[in-house]
Symmetry: C2
Subunit: 140 residues, 2 copies
Amino acid sequence: MESDNTFELRTIGRVESSLVSLDQAPRQADESAPPAVLVFEPTVAPGLAGLAVGDGIIVITWLHLANRTALQVHPRGDLTRSSTGVFNTRSAARPNPIGLHRVVVTSIADYRIGVSALEALHGTPIIDVKAILSEDIALR
Amino acid sequence: MESDNTFELRTIGRVESSLVSLDQAPRQADESAPPAVLVFEPTVAPGLAGLAVGDGIIVITWLHLANRTALQVHPRGDLTRSSTGVFNTRSAARPNPIGLHRVVVTSIADYRIGVSALEALHGTPIIDVKAILSEDIALR
C-alpha cells in the first residue's frame, strides 16, 4: 500500500553472482568484485531494448539484508574511525538501502545481461537500470 | 506491506525548489536547473552528521509523477528519435522512478541542506543521500 510518504518498489530482476555471503562481498566494486549476471523479469524485457555489449550502465539494487534503522556508522566498519551519518557514507545501512553500481555490459542473451565487477550478493533484487549520459560526470 | 518482490520505500525528506511544474523542469541538471533545498525529516537528522558545505553528494529521489508502466520511450521525448528501452535512457518513465542527482552542498542549517543545481520539482520525495567516493568514477 502506498501513501504520501511510502512508495512500493517492485523487483525487476535479481543478481546472479558467485558472492553468496556478506563475508565475501567486497565493499566496493574496485575491490575485486566478480562479474555477475542480471536476470530480469520477462515482463520488463522491453525496457532493455537498445542496450549493447560494451555499454556502461548504472545498476540500482535493493540491499535487502541491510540494517534500515542505523543512522550512524563507522566508515567501512572500522571501529577505530569515528562514527558519522549514514548519508555521509556509502554504507548499506540506511533507511532505504539502495545500492548504486556502475558496470559494463559484457553479454546479452534475452533478459540475461552479463556485467563486469558487481559488489552485490547472489539474489540481490534489481530495482532499476540507467544509461550513463555522454556528458558523464563523476558520481560514484 | 513487503513481499519477496516488493519493498517499502520511506520518504526521508522533500525537495524545496522554484520548479513547480514539469514544463519548467530541465531534463538534466546541466540544463540550467535552479539551486534547491533538501528538507529532511527530523527523525533522520542524525544521518546527516559529517556532511559539510562544499561536499559533493548523490541525492536519490522518487520521481512521484512519472509513468511507471512505460517500458519504451523516445529519448528526451523527441518523437523524431526511435523509441528505446527505458533502461537504456535516463527518462523518469520506468517501473521504479528513481532519480539520481549529483549536487554540491552549499549550506547546512539543521536538517535543511542547500544544494547546487537540482532538476527535481518542488515537493519531490527524497529517498537517499550518498557520499561521493574519493576514488570517484564517472557514473552519471
